[in-house]
Symmetry: C2
Subunit: 196 residues, 2 copies
């Protein structure tokens, strides 16, 4: 029963749903899990670290990576480029480690085409009101930016049914437990199952 | 997101694998889960309680239930009849409660025909030696009975691939965590999923 290949977990959910906090708590409790660091052309936020939260590159480098087919998925989101390197996924899974990707719905659909065996988890807010409150509370963007994020949130929420699991982030500790449970249970899943 | 219908969880595994202990610990930690009490014609063991571990009936009553199509599954195992009432499953799920069935592989395959949406979990011993040790340690049966149970264990182990999940009961606390994780994660599963 040796684990030869890791599993790929993809989490998505609208901006402001609390994915960052959820991820932080998850990794504290599951240190063996690996996080897929994305490449981005956007400016780092104050608390973000190079190589930990993102690989920050300029647009020229990003375009070069696209040409060289280095990405498993990439997109231009809110004016900035963001992508996941194929090498990150391949190396981690081949090493027997489970990998967590945090990406938007468009990126997730690209990943699903390349890795249909991946496990796709959607994080939803308890309500639209709460989501808007959280985005307003963040205060890193203006009204136009906020409206754009809410429109994107609508688009994302319409794609829930492409995912395997849905977590409603109503209470953070419960959401972490559910996320951990999904990862633990997937490690027990029988892959090449017979139908009877 | 109201849960209108409960989920059906079926656990199987050879005699002596520790299903009883596992189940007891699971229910201590998940009090909302319901246990499906089977009907049996065998004699109760010392610690077993009527209506809690089994419904103990005579063979005449059991045959009557078969004629009346009251069973979701039934079998003659080790000389005794054992079955699950359809009404137990239907009432519990309709009430919005998750139900756990602990039955052998033959019973599980019957359940799978009637409830293909059920979640099937196999509990396996860490090794054949450990299983034999545990069965010998139980001392409730003679050598012939032991041989029969080991033959049955081989038959059961050959059917693992009909199940959705496999738990190796190497360390009981870990096995309980995995079982809980499977139940928690299934509650987050998106049922009518779209393929992309």
């Amino acid at each position: 029963m040796k684990r030869e290949q890791g599993s790929l977990f993809v989490i998505s959910g609208p901006s402001g749903v609390g994915k960052g906090t959820l991820r932080k708590k998850l990794f504290e409790q599951m240190p063996n899990l690996r996080y897929s660091v994305s490449v981005t052309t956007r400016e780092p936020r104050e608390e973000e670290q190079e190589g930990h939260d993102y690989f920050f590159v300029d647009e020229e480098t990003f375009q070069e990576y696209i040409k060289l087919n280095k990405f498993a998925e990439w997109a231009k989101v809110h004016g900035d480029y963001k992508g996941t390197l194929l090498s990150t996924i391949e190396k981690t899974l081949a090493g027997g480690f489970d990998l967590l990707l945090e990406i938007d719905v468009r990126g997730a659909l690209q990943i699903k085409e390349k890795y249909p065996e991946g496990i796709f988890i959607f994080i939803a807010p308890p309500s639209w009101e709460k989501l808007e409150d959280r985005l307003r509370g963040r205060k890193t963007e203006g009204e136009d930016e906020l409206k754009k994020r809410l429109d994107d949130a609508h688009f994302e929420m319409e794609h829930i049914r492409f995912y395997d699991y849905l977590i409603i982030n109503n209470q953070i500790e419960r959401a972490v437990e559910e996320l951990k449970a999904i990862i633990t249970s997937e490690r027990c899943r029988i892959k090449d199952k017979k139908k009877c």
